[in-house]
Structure formats: C-alpha cells, structure tokens
C-alpha cells in the first residue's frame, strides 16, 4: 500500500499552522531575530576586536614571529645570541607570505641623566628595516623624530621613561650595561625623539638605538638576539612558523609566534571569549525558551484538533513531525532574518569601529593600546549561530511534539 507517504502533508499543515496565530508567530520571530542578531554581532565584535588587538600588539613591537637563540625569550639576556645562516635569511627574504623582517639586539640597561637612573630595555635596530615591521616610528611625539640611517648615537625613548629621567629631545644620557663578551658596555647617547605607544610597558622602558652602534657598544661580533618577522596575514603565522622551524635546528634556535610571545594577550582573549560564550548561551536559552513557549501554547490550544486527527487515522508520528516542522519553520525564518540583522549591524561596525579613544587612559591601566574595535563577520560565526538555534529549536520542540503525538484520541477530543 502506498498510503501515509505524502511527504508534503506535514510541512504543508505546519506552514499554515505557523501563520494561523500571526501575533504569536511574529513575537516568537522577534525573539529569534533579535537573539540571533545579537549573538552574531557580539561574536563579530569579539572576533574583530581580538584581531585588532593582535594586529596592534604585533605591529607595536613583537612582529608575528620572532627567531632567537634557544632560551633567549625565557631569560631575556643578551648572552643568548646567534648568527642567522644564509639559508634562513634567503628563505625569510623570498617567502611570499612574509612582508618584512628586522634584526635586533636586545639588552637590559641602566639609563642615567643627572641624578636620575632608570632601568631600560634597549632594542637596537636598523631603522630602515624596523620601520617595515613595526609602527613605533608613527608614534613619535611632536618635536622629535625616529631614527634614520645616518644616526650613530641617536636614540628614541618612551615618553614615560623620558619623564622619569627628566629628559627632552636633544639631551644626552649615559647608558651602562653588559656586553655579549661579558665586558662592561657603556655609551653616551642623544635623544632624538620620544614615542607614545599607549602600551605602558614600552612607554616606560623601551629605548631604540641604531643596530650598528649596538654591535660595537655590546661587542656583538656579528651576533644578534632576534629576528622579528611581519607577515602579510596573521592567519599564516602557524604555517610560516613551522616552515622556519624546518630550516632551523630546534636544539639551538627557538621560533615563536605572537601567541607564544604574548601569552597575556592569549589569556585575555580566552577570558574574553569565555565571557562572550556565557552571553551567547544566555541569549540562546532565551531564544530556545521563546520557541518552546510558542510550541507549547500552540500544542495546548490544539489538543482537540490532534485528537480528531489521530481518531481519523493520522499516525502519531505524523502529528509529531508536523509540530517539529512548525518549530523548524519559525526558526528558519527567524534565523534568516537574524542573520541579516546581525550581519548588517556587524557590517556597519566593521566600517565604523567602536571607538574607545575617550577612555584611552583607563584602557592603559589594562595594558591595552587598542582603542578601535571593528566588527568582523566570519562564516563560522554565522554557521555556528544558525545551527545552534536550529538544533535547540528542534530539541526544545521535541517534547511538546512527542506529547501531542502520544495523546489518546478520546481524551483529547473531550478536551476543550
């Protein structure tokens, strides 16, 4: 017998039932649309904000990847230095995914001016290359300048360090440290500029000096402490990192990505994501209970109708399927509109990022230099949000649907 197999029966009935109580359906849709839209927008802001924070942090100083002698990052000592081999340098300069690289000497030092002495982190760079990797040269305060290729003893220092020392552009400071060979390294250096990165750690300790001079002052003999690599896309970090690792001896050289270089940032992103997931969860529950409530109301109102349907030979499974279709239809419409709303709002905020510039000082307390938070919509966000709502709608409607299908017709027909 062919019977009972008209697959269009349940969806057709369900579709009409969805629109029978327009007011209720529209209210439910509103819950889903707003909930879905908010989840998408919040996730887009989180994704965009985190990416911005990574980009900013990477651009200010670390780069996407750094190459050191093994142990340097942990000990932060000039003693961990290496001479990059030609094979590695050739790869770094030819790889399509790499935008630029810069070689650095890093040393802890004491800076003195008059009676003031402060600890500092000296980072010696070749300004021509450094400018392609980091953006400190864009953060120079009025009245000063960044290093240029002809600078011998010029340095730029963070504005907080300058204030602590009581120095201004043009002043000469003395630096004392230890050289690579263990000797005392001392030099007199002239401030040519001050920078304000917004990152408190850098602003109160970083000193940038010419690499050529540092080679002599610290007796480096051709050794360097790090190579910072800037990529064209942050997404390539893991693959480039592993390609570099293939060309270097893991016993001697460490290759670190931005996540390894800035574990606090990773930690912050994880915590922030956890907060976002909790909010997502609450919104999803609101949406799910909205759907549950609607389906339950509509099932309760139609008990008699289900009784008649079951009495005249409708299969319980057909009743259940019909109700599940109702829930899925409402959810699909809600999701479609919610995707539109969420994407539209996110799109607006991708062009007009949320601006925290007015709170710059408060943000610094948190060690954050990022002030503009753009939204970024990802396919994953849209898919995961849609699927979650759809699955929850299905699960939450299953029990009312199951109950309706298990009704005893004679009792249901007596029901008012």
């Amino acid at each position: 017998m062919k019977g009972r197999n008209d697959y269009l029966l349940e969806p057709k009935l369900a579709w009409r039932n969805v629109w029978k109580n327009k007011r209720r359906t529209v209210l439910t849709l509103l819950t889903i649309v707003v909930g879905c839209g908010m989840i998408i927008f919040m996730n887009a802001i989180a994704t965009g904000g985190h990416e911005q924070m990574i980009t900013d942090a990477v651009e200010i100083n670390t780069g996407h990847i750094q190459i050191h002698e093994k142990g340097f990052w942990e000990n932060q000592s000039i003693d961990y230095a290496f001479v990059p081999d030609d094979d590695l340098l050739k790869m770094l300069s030819t790889d399509e995914r790499i935008a630029a690289i810069t070689k650095r000497v890093n040393a802890g030092a004491l800076l003195s001016f008059g009676n003031n002495t402060y600890a500092a982190m000296v980072q010696a760079v070749d300004p021509e290359y450094e400018k392609k990797v980091t953006v400190i040269h864009e953060k120079i305060l009025e009245g000063g300048r960044y290093l240029n290729v002809s600078d011998r003893t010029g340095i730029v220092v963070g504005k907080v360090l300058a204030k602590n020392l009581g120095v201004a552009v043009g002043d000469e400071v003395s630096m004392i440290s230890q050289g690579f060979d263990g000797s005392i390294a001392a030099d007199n250096l002239t401030i040519v500029g001050l920078f304000d990165t917004g990152n408190p750690e850098l602003d109160q300790a970083l000193v940038i000096m010419p690499l050529a001079r540092a080679m002599e002052t610290f007796t480096m003999m051709g050794y360097i402490n790090s190579i910072a690599v800037r990529l064209k896309s942050v997404d390539d970090m893991p693959s480039v990192r592993s390609d570099i690792m293939k060309r270097t001896d893991a016993e001697e050289i460490e290759v670190m990505g931005w996540d390894g270089l800035m574990p606090e940032l990773v930690q912050f992103i994880i915590m922030d994501d956890a907060g976002a997931y909790i909010t997502d969860f609450i919104l999803l529950m609101i949406v799910a209970f909205g759907i549950l409530n609607t389906i339950q109301m509509s099932v309760y109102e139609r008990i008699r109708e289900f009784g008649v349907m079951l009495a005249i030979g409708t299969r319980p499974s057909q009743v259940r399927t019909m109700i599940l279709y109702e829930s899925v239809f409402i959810s699909l419409i809600g999701i479609a509109l919610g995707l539109l709303l969420g994407s539209a709002v996110s799109y607006y905020f991708s062009i007009h990022p949320i601006d925290y510039s007015d709170y710059a000082e408060e943000m610094k307390v948190w060690g954050m230099s990022t002030l503009l938070f753009p939204a970024r919509i990802t396919a994953l966000n849209l898919w995961v949000t849609s699927l979650f709502i759809l699955v929850l709608a299905f699960v939450f409607s299953f029990f009312p649907a199951q109950r309706a299908s298990k009704l005893r017709p004679i009792e249901a027909i007596r029901h008012l």
Binding site: K2, L13, R16, E305, L310, A311, P409, I413
Partner: protein, 228 residues
C-alpha cells in the same frame, strides 16, 4: 451478513480506584447498510460503545468484530489503520482541521491513504457537491456555519467509502432544522451508497429518522426495534 458483531461487551472505567460500569454486557449485531440510532439518556454508555466499535477504546471484556476483524487482537497502529481505511468518524463538533479548507479537509483522508492528487481532488469535490457545499468548497471551517461544518465532516467520513460510519451525537450542536437536514443527508447517502451508519443521539427527532433504534439504559440494551 453482519458488519458489526458485539458479544458480552463490558467496559469499566477506573475513577480513583472506584469502578464505573459504563457498559454492562451488550450483545448486538449490525448488518451492512443499516441506518441505526443508539439512543439513551446522558451517561447511558452511547459514546463508550461507539468508541470501542471505532477502535478508539479497549473493552474490559467481551468481543467486538468489525467486518472480519476481531478488534481484541489488534495493536494500536492496526487500529489506527482500520480507522483510516474502514471507518468514517463524525464527532459532535469541531471535527475539522482549522487550517484546511472544506475541500482539503475532505481530501485529508485520501491524502493519508495515498490517493493521487488528481483523484483526491475530483472525489472530494464531487462529494462536497453531493452534500450541498459547492459554494463552500474553498472556505475555511471558521468561515462556515455549524451545519455546514458538520456536512463537511459527513463528506470527509464518506469520501473514502468506508464500511461503517460512526457518528457520536452529530446533531447535538445544531438547531432542530439543521439537525434534521443533516440526518436526511446521512440517510440519503446511506441508501445511495449502501454504507452502514451507526449514530448516537438523545434527540427524538433523530430517533424518528432511524431505521433501527437501540435504546441503552445504564450500559445495557433496554430495547431494540426495527422501524422500517
């Protein structure tokens, strides 16, 4: 040849541990083509009897044979199939699926039976014309009078030409004249298609129109007379 054979039928309901004897030993047979009314005061067991014959409820004891099927051995899905294919139901009121038009409500049974779309629509339209609802074919239940809705229910019950049509107080929510017209329609279909009708009522106007009248009292048959 009998189409319904009931032997020693007993139905007790358990209400908070107290047995309510709704049907207390009924024997009866109904032949194909009969137009029979079950009468009796409220609480006499009419609905219980019809529900058991229709496979909507199980007897406490006794046997019910509908056509050649002994209902006592049937599973709930076999009973569901029997209700779909062999029995037409007309309830007191709110028989119809609210979101379906008159035509679609009648088609619904055929759809469940897997009849093709064209045949479904032709047969449903034809039967609606027969019950006098040509103009109401595409109306929703809420846009029809109570009498018209009951006519759609009659059309739905009869469209698949079942062996029996069971109607529990089909006129109870209608006024006298509309009720009489509905019963005349049922009687006409009964004669024309030779379909067995078994309906309950406590309305004397309806009883008058029955060919056979079975009176129930306290769950037992008080009288059983052929009128014509």
């Amino acid at each position: 040849m009998s189409i319904i054979a009931i032997k020693a039928l007993v139905k007790d309901y358990d209400v908070n541990g107290i047995a309510v004897n709704a049907v207390r030993g009924i024997d009866m047979t109904i032949d194909k083509g009969e137009f029979t009314a079950i009468a009796g005061p409220s609480g006499s067991g009419k609905t219980t009897l019809l529900n058991i014959v229709g496979g909507l409820d199980y007897p406490t004891s006794g046997s019910v044979v509908v056509g050649d099927r002994d209902l006592s051995g049937m599973s709930s899905s076999e009973l569901s199939d029997m209700r779909l294919n062999n029995i037409g139901f007309i309830f007191q009121a709110y028989n119809l699926i609210p979101v379906l038009s008159a035509l679609e409500n009648v088609e619904y049974i055929l759809l469940l039976q897997g009849v093709s779309k064209k045949e479904r629509q032709d047969r449903a339209r034809e039967i609606l014309i027969e019950v006098g609802l040509e103009k109401e074919i595409s109306r929703l239940p809420k846009d029809m009078s109570g009498g018209q809705q009951q006519r759609v229910a009659v059309a739905r019950a009869i469209v698949s030409e079942p062996e029996i049509i069971l109607a529990d107080e089909p006129t109870a929510n209608l006024d006298q004249k509309t009720g009489a017209n509905l019963l005349d329609l049922m009687h006409e279909l009964n004669r024309k298609k030779n379909i067995t009708f078994l309906f309950s009522t406590h309305d004397s106007m309806v009883m008058e129109r029955a060919e056979r009248l079975i009176q129930l009292s306290d769950g037992m048959i008080a009288s059983d007379e052929k009128r014509r």
